[in-house]
């Protein structure tokens, strides 16, 4: 599983970098243009629109700086708002990062520079400029001497890139000052700013007054929205047969819901996915079999007797056994070797099923995504969920989308068919050769139709004859056609008939290949389907957890004595629980004396009436102390606070008792 996770991370990085590269090619062009126009006082600035998923930004910036470091300039500083409360801190941070990154580039002069940084440099722009001059001069003189890869990749005077990670959180003054300062030195120090903006670029205008923003030359770059990012990731991770691990419908739904409803964070989605992987491999003993096809055979052969028993216990396997002939059933239930053989075969089937599933799903998506109103959803992930959930052809949406598909016009249909063919051809499997053939045939027929459309004007009679001939050509669908023709009183044009055929064919493909996964034998091995665990882990509900802990301690402590029937307050539970329950019954302000009395009554109830009588008025010191401790614990948890309105009262803070 470790290896799969690494795989996954790598893929994510690849994804990110690829979508960043697009913006950066432009960016580089811009910087080259800028070196020649250094005379004007504007600072080139890239405003990077990143969307609201703040958690993802870190990764984005890291890969930006990596890309920049490799291609543009070694001098990059990443600044965060929390490090820079004042202009002084900002300059310090900036200089520190720049000088350090210089050291990184050529480690030869390490000693000189460490010394400089140790002797408390003056943090001002002038020292930065002198540093920059010395650095560029040195690289200039060095290049003829020894060929260095880094300096050949960078230009003669590489720009200094300053990245402001979270533009919104910077204080206005710091930014203004920094921009004013750096604009004065733009002649000597080729500075490029990058603003990371989460909301909208209007923030620049609201943060900076005109006198400052006129010093900037802002160009806007929009990164891919995180929704699109997610769909590419789903595409690459889930909709391939490459990764043996799959998500069940409910789990996927939970992950997508968290993404859409809560944070738009691809990072969190990936983390959730990783959690699923861990949970699956941890909880499912048979998950050893969830591996690449190459390793599978070996692993199946090394299964122990217990593991075989586990296989036999799987509900899907039992179903499979029940459908077999009786002697086979016995063999399956008794001999391990036979089970292994069958398991191997079944797993291979499953793999093939996945390959086919993905392809057909894509084809279906081509169709459904172009229908008006999107009855099956716009994104392929929605379609995927629908297919996982149950037999997709039984749903109403599927029916309506087929209806709509029957009304498509020709050009759309042709392009869709072409795209389907492309998808199917791109796969390596031989499974779909016939299908491709079939679809191609449809295409040629459409072309023929086009040619015939001219002839059709000659007369309806001739066309009718041709139609007769044409129908003779394919015997396969003849019966079907005739059936349909007879059903309809109105005569269909050839195009309409062909359209029906296409739709019917697609329908048959769907019925064949898009069987939901839990109808397949041994699906438990590769599918993770316990959504409740995931929800518990990812969608934490602190208030509810606290409430259950205090209200029903048995839930967490698992002590039989604490098992209460609800309603009444048991005196065996921890003190804090008693206090908590009592306070639930109170209003916004709680009288401490009343509370203490109630507490004492509950505690004393166990000791019997005689004990209660003994300490009639006076509350026992120990009970008093216990009460005070419990109350202060509640205060620590944030349920109550001392109030200033009445001295012997405390105020309730939660569920605002009114």
């Amino acid at each position: 599983s470790q290896q799969i996770q690494e795989d996954l991370n790598k893929q994510l990085f690849d994804n990110l970098v690829s979508f960043l590269r697009q913006s950066h090619s432009e960016f580089q062009e811009k910087t080259t243009a800028w070196t020649c126009r250094m005379k004007s006082r504007e600072i080139p600035t890239a405003a990077l629109l990143l969307g609201v998923n703040v958690t993802d930004h870190d990764l984005t910036f890291r890969s930006i700086s990596e890309v920049l470091q490799n291609n543009v300039t070694p001098y990059i500083a990443l600044l965060e708002a929390k490090d820079c409360p004042g202009i002084k801190n900002l300059m310090q941070k900036l200089m520190g990062q720049l000088m350090n990154c210089y050291i990184d580039v050529d480690s030869l002069e390490d000693e000189d520079y460490v010394q400089v940084s140790q002797t408390r440099i003056r943090c001002s722009m002038t020292s930065l400029i002198s540093w920059y001059e010395s650095v560029t001069k040195k690289t200039d003189s060095e290049t003829p001497r020894k060929k260095r890869t880094s300096s050949s990749r960078h230009w003669q005077s590489p720009p200094v890139v300053v990245v402001f990670k979270d533009m919104e959180s910077f204080t206005t003054k710091v930014l203004q000052d920094f921009i004013v300062i750096s604009s004065q030195h733009i002649h000597k120090l080729p500075l490029v700013l990058i603003f990371g903006i989460a909301t909208s670029p209007m923030i620049i205008h609201s943060l900076l007054p005109h006198s400052v923003s006129s010093l900037l030359c802002i160009e806007l770059f929009q990164s891919l929205s995180s929704k699109e990012h997610l769909s590419t990731i789903i595409d690459k991770l889930l909709l391939t047969a490459q990764f043996p691990f799959k998500l069940g419908e409910k789990v996927l739904q939970v992950l997508i819901n968290i993404f859409l409803y809560h944070d738009f964070s691809v990072q969190n989605f990936i983390k959730g996915f990783q959690l699923c992987i861990m949970e699956h491999f941890y909880s499912q003993p048979l998950s050893v079999l969830c591996c690449q096809l190459v390793d599978m055979k070996k692993r199946v052969n090394s299964l122990s007797h217990n593991q075989c028993e586990n296989i036999r216990r799987l509900p899907s396997f039992r179903r499979y056994v029940e459908n077999q002939a009786s002697e086979k059933q016995i063999a399956l239930l008794t001999t391990d070797s036979y089970v292994k053989e069958v398991t191997q075969k079944l797993l291979e089937d499953l793999h093939v099923y996945h390959e086919n599933y993905v392809l057909v799903l894509r084809c279906l998506h081509v169709f459904t995504s172009s229908l008006p109103k999107y009855p099956m959803g716009k994104q392929i992930r929605e379609l995927h969920c629908a297919c996982l959930e149950n037999q997709v052809w039984e749903t109403e949406e599927y029916e309506s989308s087929l209806q709509l598909a029957r009304m498509l016009n020709k050009s759309d249909l042709v392009t869709m068919l072409q795209r389907c063919v492309e998808i199917l051809v791109s796969s390596s499997g031989k499974e779909f050769d016939n299908t491709v053939e079939k679809l191609k045939e449809f295409l040629t027929q459409f072309q023929k139709l086009e040619a015939e459309a001219v002839q059709e004007q000659d007369g309806s009679l001739s066309s009718e004859k041709e139609l007769q001939k044409k129908t003779d050509l394919y015997h396969l669908q003849k019966t079907l056609l005739e059936l349909k023709e007879s059903r309809r009183s109105k005569k269909l044009t050839k195009f309409e008939m062909l359209r029906f055929e296409v739709v019917a064919y697609i329908d048959s493909l769907v019925r064949n290949y898009l069987v939901p996964a839990d109808h397949k034998t041994l699906h438990e091995i590769v599918y993770f389907n316990t959504a409740s665990i995931l929800r518990e882990h990812l969608n934490a509900a602190p208030r509810i957890a606290l409430h259950t802990a205090l209200n029903n301690p048995y839930w967490y402590l698992k002590n039989q004595a604490l098992k209460s029937d609800g309603g009444s307050i048991c005196n065996k539970v921890p003190d804090i629980c008693i206090v908590y329950k009592l306070h639930l019954e109170c209003g916004r302000l709680i009288n401490l004396v009343d509370w203490l009395e109630a507490f004492a009554t509950v505690v004393m109830a166990a000791e019997g009436p005689n004990a209660a009588a003994a300490s009639s008025d006076q509350v026992d010191d120990i009970i008093h102390a216990r009460f005070i401790r419990a109350v202060s614990e509640l205060e620590l948890l944030g349920f109550i606070k001392p109030s200033k309105q009445k001295t012997d009262h405390v105020a309730r803070l939660t569920w605002g008792g009114c």
């Binding site: 943090c123 670029p201 006198s211 006129s214 859409l260």
Partner: protein
């Protein structure tokens, strides 16, 4: 036209100076008469103020450099602490007199040290017989440094006993500077705006590109001012616009369609472009390079949208609702909550008029702070299905705060039930709610 005359300086330099600073002759002559001759002591401190881009810095710089007066020019924004500022002055001082002796870095922590080191620096050089000028640009920053800095600079001449004049440049009036303890009053000089169209015309047409004649450029500036004068009198912005649109203006001349004299034709050509540019005065929505690309392609402005075009913000589902709930909580009074969000509320007794009045006043008053519990309560009532108060929801509130869509008010005690304020506008909420 008041020509500059001063016995101490050669007439040629003065003429050159006059050509370099148009429309500022009177101010320059005042300054010159204050400065007096090189060796004369002049007024200890001068305070120059005027609106932004009225040429304060430029005039001072050209004046001092053309007359070759010894000076130190420091921007107070750049040297943001007193230590940095003083050290910078000393460094510049050392370099402006004797380049040969590369000064070692001297730490200078307070003004006492500064005065001592200053005396040393001046004594060691041949500056003794000339007035030294220390120009502090953006002097309003001095008020934020230690309290003694500003008064000490004002009487630097007295403190050091050397021939030195401090010039403060600022955009705000002297009355706002005066410390409560009282100080030496500087000589104040006001630079008025270049408000008259003639001034702007003169200044803008001064730096014409070499390949075209001055008259041609002046005609162009005339057209430009005709269009923009009503909306924009800021010299910097006008300069920016002039540079931006000039290549377009020249196009017919370059292609040979019109001669330089054919003003009418040129006007016809440039007019639509200037109109287009008019919409984005001051905003700098698209960068210079983008603007040039746009003009080259001659495409529609719709293709390349400015910054303000990307106003739409994509938010997660619950964040939208949270923001809407926050907006409602900020702008509706608490007592109406029951009426708006409860299914079985009491009878609505309020008249229509009252309601309207209430609404406008609330929007004028700005957002009010509200406690977290109220926000959540409203959230639960506006979202259709059940929402669990999960950690995700809470973390979304904080992330909205970091995005500056909400702000936290009075964050002294976390347990105290944090209070928030919604800072987005009604338009934004409308866009989200759609």
């Amino acid at each position: 036209m008041p020509s500059l005359e001063h016995p101490a300086y050669p007439a040629a330099t003065l003429l050159q100076l006059e050509s370099l600073v148009p429309c500022r002759e009177s101010q320059v002559s005042t300054l010159l008469s204050i400065f007096g001759e090189r060796q004369q002591f002049s007024f200890p401190s001068i305070f120059i103020y005027g609106h932004t881009s009225s040429g304060k810095t430029y005039v001072m710089k050209t004046l001092l450099t053309t007359l070759q007066l010894p000076h130190v020019f420091v921007n107070c924004v750049e040297y943001f602490t007193s230590r940095l500022l003083l050290e910078e002055i000393l460094i510049q001082l050392q370099s402006c007199s004797s380049e040969t002796e590369q000064a070692s870095h001297v730490p200078c922590d307070n003004f006492n040290d500064f005065v001592r080191l200053f005396k040393q620096a001046v004594a060691s050089q041949e500056l003794q017989d000339q007035t030294l000028y220390i120009v502090l640009d953006r002097a309003e920053q001095l008020r934020e440094m230690e309290a003694n800095i500003l008064p000490a600079f004002l009487r630097l001449q007295e403190l050091t006993g050397r021939n030195v004049t401090v010039v403060l440049l600022s955009e705000i009036v002297w009355e706002l500077f005066r410390p409560s303890t009282g100080c030496f009053e500087p000589f104040t000089l006001y630079f008025p705006d270049y408000s008259i169209a003639g001034h702007l015309q003169k200044i803008l047409s001064q730096n014409h590109p070499p390949e075209y004649s001055a008259d041609f450029y002046a005609a162009y500036i005339n057209i430009l001012l005709g269009v923009f004068y009503m909306v924009c009198r800021d010299l910097k912005e006008l300069q920016h616009l002039a540079v931006l649109n000039f290549s377009k203006y020249c196009e017919p001349v370059v292609s040979g369609e019109a001669s330089e004299r054919d003003t009418r034709k040129l006007w016809k050509n440039i007019e639509p472009h200037l109109k287009k540019a008019m919409q984005t005065v001051y905003l700098r929505e698209i960068s210079t390079s983008q603007w040039e690309r746009l003009q080259r392609e001659d495409g529609e402005p719709g293709q390349l949208k400015g910054l303000s075009a990307h106003t739409h913000v994509e938010l997660p589902y619950y964040s939208k609702f949270l923001l809407i709930a926050a907006y409602l909580a900020s702008y509706n009074p608490v007592r109406t909550d029951k009426r708006f969000f409860l299914k079985h509320h009491g009878k609505i007794r309020k008249t229509n008029f009252m309601k309207k009045h209430e609404k406008t006043s609330n929007h004028l008053l700005g957002p009010k702070p509200f406690p977290l519990d109220r926000l959540l309560a409203i959230l639960y009532s506006i979202v259709d299905n059940r929402v669990a108060p999960t950690a995700n929801i809470f973390s979304q509130i904080t992330s909205l705060v970091t995005l500056q869509l909400l702000t936290m008010v009075g964050h002294n005690d976390q347990l105290d039930g944090p209070r928030y304020k919604c800072t987005v506008s009604l338009d934004f909420i409308r866009a989200i709610a759609r």
